[in-house]
């Protein structure tokens, strides 16, 4: 079986995009915290990922096409007003998640580098 790194990169970069969008949404929530009547927002990505992975198990061949359909959405958060501490906690969590994904990206690049260098370290 041929090893292809492209679907992995596609998935990682989409997930990174979603995390960055989430960072923007939390920033916006915090910035608008003092505006009366502001409705906090949230990003929906994981549920789409789950449904895509369920579809993938049913039909494994369409992995590449399926990735194209995953789009993060901005939805209303299920809370009525912005709680600063809560938003900051969510933001820290999201930041860690983002760095985790970056690390995964770097590892997969390292794997490819290893293959290009024929297993030699440098």
């Amino acid at each position: 079986m041929m090893f292809s790194v492209e679907p992995v990169w596609e998935l990682l970069s989409r997930h990174l995009d979603a995390c960055m969008l989430r960072q923007a949404v939390y920033s916006s929530n915090i910035a608008n915290a003092s505006v009366p009547g502001y409705q906090p927002l949230e990003v929906d990505f994981e549920s789409q990922l789950r449904s895509a992975s369920a579809l993938l198990q049913a039909a494994p061949a369409e992995a590449g096409d399926l990735l194209q359909t995953i789009q993060p959405q901005i939805v209303r958060a299920p809370v009525a007003s912005v709680e600063l501490d809560q938003q900051l906690a969510l933001m820290s969590q999201n930041a860690l998640h983002y760095q985790q994904l970056l690390r995964a990206f770097e590892r997969s690049i390292g794997l490819l580098r290893l293959a290009v260098l024929e297993g030699k370290e440098s």
């Binding site: 920033s27 910035a31 915290a33 789009q71 900051l88 933001m91 760095q99 990206f105």
Partner: protein
């Protein structure tokens, strides 16, 4: 994708909080000023905040086609100060017949600034400002990490 838009959002939050701070401090600073009877007394003001493009986002999400990709970030609401409006609080009247600005009954009018409320406002402003700074820092860290990606360590 407009990476630096995120920093702009936090910056808009900081600007709004700073304006609120200026308004509160102005009220507090002018709280003890008086005016001769019939003269112009300082009127306490307050900043009216609004969110830009919030309505657009909600309407597009409710019935139109949903926004995608980079336009999502551009559609995120940013706060701004719509106007600095005078508050309708009545002047505080203090009996002080010896004061040069006292009226015929011996009362002196002071602006209707409530120092306790204003101090509480200052606390909440300070917290919001800090939260925006924190958000700015986290975003900057993420962007730096992204730029470092792939570099040899």
């Amino acid at each position: 994708m407009g990476l630096f838009n995120i920093l702009n959002i936090s910056a808009a939050g900081l600007t709004v909080e700073r304006t609120r701070l200026e308004v509160a401090v102005t009220n507090l600073a002018n709280a003890q000023t008086t005016a001769p009877p019939g003269g112009l007394l300082y009127q306490p003001v307050q900043a009216i905040l609004r969110s830009a493009s919030q309505a657009r986002l909600q309407s597009s999400h409710m019935d139109g086609p949903s926004l995608e990709g980079s336009s999502l970030e551009a559609a995120l609401p940013r706060p701004f100060v719509a106007e600095i409006a005078p508050m309708s609080s009545p002047p505080r009247r203090v009996y002080d017949p010896g004061h040069p600005d006292a009226d015929a009954q011996g009362f002196v009018s002071y602006p209707g600034v409530d120092p306790v409320t204003t101090m509480l406002d200052l606390l909440s402003i300070s917290r919001s400002y800090e939260a925006n700074v924190k958000a700015f820092d986290i975003t900057r860290t993420l962007l730096e990490r992204t730029l470092d990606m792939g570099s040899q360590r």
